[in-house]
């Protein structure tokens, strides 16, 4: 039988809160429910294991930073840089999230139901078998996918057209896939738009289905929708800028 642990986060500083979460994981919890969360930063910081952590309330910045394995589900909004430098695991946010979502993320998945702030997916990177995935249900702000060095970033634009400008500034790896058309003027230096093919659709379909499943959405209209695919113009964006002494 799955072992559940309940933690009341009311008025608890982040360090003892994380200590209790770590202890529960150590003691073999399968699911940890943290209630009354109000602005505590670093929840799940560097956390390992196969546990699921359910958060009720609004966690503070750097949620699941350096996390490696667990699933964190937020029933509320998240602040600055959730999924920062995350290595593995899954972060599901049933609200909006702040700036620098999935900053430097290297593996695992971050699913946001609502909108995200500026610099979403900045410097996400992949190597060998590690490939991070960020899916945003709503809109994303400017500098989306800046300096991206790998991974998959999908924006579904379920709340209306995407607001981002300067998309993929300095991108040198990975791909940004946005539902609907994107004005070419919104692409930054280093990013280029290419046709969205049937192979691309087949590749993202399982991700879209998983996302829709997590949020109770009908996946098929999303799977069959039109998308814009944005990729790096080069894996060496700065090669033409320098000369040697």
């Amino acid at each position: 039988m799955a072992k559940q642990v309940a933690i009341d986060g009311k008025g608890v500083h982040y360090t003892p809160l994380n200590q209790r979460i770590r202890k529960a994981v150590e003691d073999g919890a399968d699911e940890i429910v943290v209630s009354n969360v109000l602005g505590q930063r670093f929840i799940g910081d560097g956390l390992r294991g196969n546990v699921t952590v359910r958060i009720y309330g609004v966690p503070g910045g750097d949620l699941a930073i350096f996390m490696s394995g667990p699933t964190v589900i937020v029933h509320g909004n998240a602040e600055h840089a959730p999924g920062n430098t995350m290595d593995a695991g899954k972060l599901i946010i049933h609200g909006n999230a702040g700036d620098a979502v999935a900053h430097s993320m290297r593996g695992g998945k971050v699913f946001v139901r609502g909108d995200i702030g500026y610099r979403g997916g900045i410097h996400m990177k992949q190597y060998e078998t590690q490939c991070p995935i960020l899916v945003v249900g709503g809109s994303a702000q400017t500098f989306l996918g800046e300096y991206m060095a790998g991974g998959l970033l999908i924006v579904l634009g379920l709340n209306g057209p995407i607001k981002a400008r300067e998309i993929g500034s300095g991108i040198h790896g990975g791909e940004i896939i946005i539902r609907g058309d994107v004005d070419a003027a919104c692409l930054a230096t280093g990013a280029t738009q290419v046709p969205f093919t049937d192979e691309d659709r087949a590749r993202i379909a399982p991700v879209i289905r998983e996302y829709a499943g997590d949020f109770g959405l009908d996946p098929e209209p999303l799977v069959s929708a039109d998308y814009t695919r944005i990729i790096p113009a080069s894996a060496r964006p700065f090669v033409g800028k320098y000369t040697w002494e």
Partner: protein
């Protein structure tokens, strides 16, 4: 023809009487200066970088090297470097990258400072018979201690202490990444750090598994690209360092060119193979001093507050105020990297023109922290152009707790400071990833040489302290009375807070 060929920088000549045509020069020169033509060895001096590998390998001292054999008309303003930069940029329209540290002829403040010694009235100490304490603790120190006497007479410490790094000598090895330097070079220095009881930095290159045996001596770096950073990496290090800036290129990020990102480097840095490894100029989760404090806390929280966290900044105009801001976060040490700090590659204009000297920076940081009553909150590590034990002693007297060395450790392994690190062809096996070149650097010998250097400087430091009648490095720290300025102007002496010679 508009610009044409520039005069060669160096001329290599082989004395035919001494040369025995053993071809060691041909085998050793990775830049292709030498080739055999029938009974002779021919030379193409234009390929020479003055790395001295051929000279070091020639069994008969047959090779000689001349710098600037054919110079331009001399002119104090239009130097050779100024003219050649223009020719280069007129041809390419690009930013010039260069290796090693600041190459402009700024005065060296260390060389305008002299140390003190005892005579007659206050006897000097002999390190042979008197212990001279060089042990240094890097990290926060409590502002006050809560001591209570138990009934049995024992004293109990009520203050909870922050973990510190215990360093046997105030000489640490700074951050040089795997990628910028070879794995053999990194292993050699890590082994030397372990042998001499000091620590060394990983740079932003991740922690290769070959370094794991020395991980308790490694300071793992977290820079803006977050290369190689995961929870295992953070837990392996003895301490963690957030790199905000670097003395050789303040204000900008770093690019490791894609051709250097081979399989091993890709795995260690956790980045895609063959892509440029780009560290952005700022950390994109740090846009303010409060955000910096947040990353310090995030790193401490990830490692359950067991590891010291350092913050490295380049020495820039407002370095003192910035360091004071860092001291008010939970950071344990601030590393101040002066404008002479080394690098594998940096835009020449930054390397030579941005930032301030370490001597002035460390002194003003120390003064600001003391003014604000928070000097105990943070250790100060000085780096950027430390060439010998005298520089170490002077940096400490100006207010540093310890120093980082970089180029000096490379020189101990054979580096000749030729400044061509960025080309990846280092014939000494240091700044290269070519397996046949890397193999030339024997980690056993090289680590012994780096350890010897640290031991030698440590012995000299003990002698300098003893001569000054000081038996502990702590009494030297910030002790400007043991320094005098020689041929320094008054305003600079005010910044350094030192008196002039004779005063």
């Amino acid at each position: 023809m508009t610009i044409g060929s520039l005069p060669p920088r160096y001329r290599i000549s082989i004395d035919p009487v001494r040369c025995m045509e053993c071809e060691r020069c041909i085998e050793n020169c990775s830049y292709g200066v030498f080739r055999r033509d029938g009974e002779r060895i021919l030379v193409n001096s234009r390929n020479c970088t003055a790395c001295h590998r051929c000279i070091a390998c020639c069994p008969r001292d047959a090779i000689s090297l001349e710098e600037h054999p054919c110079d331009y008309r001399s002119h104090p303003l239009w130097t050779r470097e100024a003219r050649e930069a223009i020719y280069n940029q007129a041809r390419t329209g690009r930013i010039i990258l260069a290796g090693m540290g600041n190459a402009l002829d700024y005065p060296v403040i260390f060389d305008r400072l002299v140390l003190d010694a005892c005579q007659v009235t206050n006897p000097s100490l002999d390190p042979l018979r008197e212990p001279i304490e060089l042990l240094t603790h890097i990290g926060k120190k409590p502002a006050r201690l809560d001591l209570r006497r138990r009934e049995g007479g024992d004293v109990e410490l009520g203050t909870s202490l922050t973990p510190n790094l215990r360093v046997e000598t105030p000489i640490m090895i700074g951050h040089m990444s795997y990628g910028a330097i070879s794995l053999n070079a990194q292993v050699a220095m890590a082994r030397a750090a372990k042998e001499t009881g000091t620590f060394m930095g990983t740079g932003e290159g991740g922690l290769h598994s070959a370094i794991y045996p020395y991980q308790d001596r490694m300071i793992v770096q977290v820079a803006s690209g977050r290369f190689g950073v995961n929870i295992d990496y953070l837990e392996r290090g003895a301490a963690i360092e957030i790199k905000i800036g670097q003395g050789a290129k303040p204000g900008i990020g770093g690019h490791l060119p894609g051709e250097k990102v081979c399989t091993e480097i890709s795995r260690t840095r956790m980045i895609p193979e063959g892509s440029d490894a780009i560290s952005p100029a700022p950390h994109h989760d740090i846009y303010s001093i409060e955000d910096l404090a947040q990353l310090v806390r995030a790193l401490k929280e990830a490692t359950e507050w067991k590891k010291p966290v350092f913050v490295k900044i380049a020495a820039v105009h407002n370095v003192a105020a910035i360091a004071a801001g860092i001291a008010r976060s939970p950071a344990d040490a601030v590393v101040v990297d002066g404008f002479r700090g080394g690098t594998g590659a940096a835009p020449r204009v930054f390397r030579d023109h941005v930032g301030i000297p370490i001597e002035a920076a460390v002194s003003s940081v120390d003064a600001k922290l003391r003014d604000q009553g928070i000097r105990n909150e943070i250790s100060v590590i000085a780096s950027g152009g430390i060439r010998g034990s005298a520089d170490v002693a002077k940096a400490i007297a100006l207010g540093a707790d310890a120093v980082y060395i970089g180029t000096a450790a490379l020189v101990a392994m054979g580096c000749r400071v030729c400044g061509n690190c960025y080309r990846g062809l280092c014939p000494w096996g240091i700044a290269t990833q070519h397996p046949d070149l890397v193999e030339r650097l024997n980690p056993d010998t090289a680590s012994e040489q780096v350890a010897n250097l640290i031991r030698a400087w440590t012995l000299e430091l003990a002698e300098l302290l003893g001569a000054a009648g000081i038996n502990s490095i702590e009494s030297m720290r910030g002790n400007r009375d043991r320094l005098r300025g020689y041929m320094l102007d008054e305003s600079l002496m005010q910044v350094l807070d030192v008196k002039q010679v004779g005063a």
